[in-house]
Point group: C2
Chain length 137, copies 2
DNA sequence: CTGCCTCCAGACAACTTGTCTTAGAGCAAC
DNA sequence: GTTGCTCTAAGACAAGTTGTCTGGAGGCAG
């Protein structure tokens, strides 16, 4: 009954953040970022986290070099989407609309944010059949 | 390092859903909804889930009757808010804005939804300080 | 009294999560 | 070639979570 898409853990997320920053990195590089002057055990920890991320499909491992290189197969924004969808699944019967209205109602919008939002809405109005790239609910 | 607000589990969520539906319920009533013709072990399961929900503060237990009555201390919408905030914390540096724009960009809005959204934005424009209950980022 | 229903306390296995240990391979410099 | 470094690989480990279940004690109705 675990969440269907095998979620990313906190420690794993830290690794993902590095990958999102650098685009591609070796274990050593990630380790240096996450645990400056960390010992070999930290190295192994990062290694395990990457192994699990690869198993979950969130990371691609390039084995062509001696030193494997890792790359995120999912963007931060994609992960946000997954989480939002999973949240909607659990609490809103799958519909994203309640999340949207909740945010607009709860969050105090700055004038700039209001303007941006309006622009986005206009945009989706102009091209209502444009949504080929992403699924919608 | 567990999520700060002690999240609600899947099985616990099922119990919450019943409470949100009925407003107030005994273990037996919840049990009948969740496990029709379930045995005494299911009863104990629900009991334990309620105990944990009470410990986490999501449920109030009225002990004044012989048969305790349970009531959710948090609405579905509040939980949505908590989850959204936690999501923003993890992936957006605490800002809810990326979630908002993600939703507007991703989700294909029906004309009606667009109208509602616009109305909500107008509203927040009229009363920018009306939402004082929670901090916003 | 008997039976039924409730509450309470805690056991339990399965799984997750973050960390760490150990072993072995490949390569570079001495 | 041997030494030493870095890398991969495999898995052990404790702690915590989660969902389920067992057993006992008390109260009340028939």
């Amino acid at each position: 009954m675990a969440r269907s898409y095998r979620d990313i853990t906190d420690a794993e997320l830290a690794v993902m953040q590095v990958l999102w920053d650098r685009g591609e990195a070796s274990i050593r590089q990630i380790c240096d970022v996450l645990y400056p002057n960390g010992g070999p055990s930290h190295y192994a920890t990062v290694q395990k986290l990457l192994e699990r991320l690869e198993a979950k499909g969130f990371v691609h491992r390039d084995r062509s070099l001696q030193v494997h290189l890792f790359r995120a197969t999912i963007g931060r924004d994609d992960l946000i989407g997954l989480r939002l969808r999973s949240l909607a699944e659990q609490l809103c019967g799958g519909s994203l609309t309640p999340l949207l209205t909740h945010l607009v109602k709860t969050k105090a919008l700055s004038p700039q944010e209001r303007a941006e939002l309006r622009a986005l809405i206009e945009q989706s109005e102009d091209a209502p059949r444009r949504r080929g790239s992403r699924k919608q609910t």
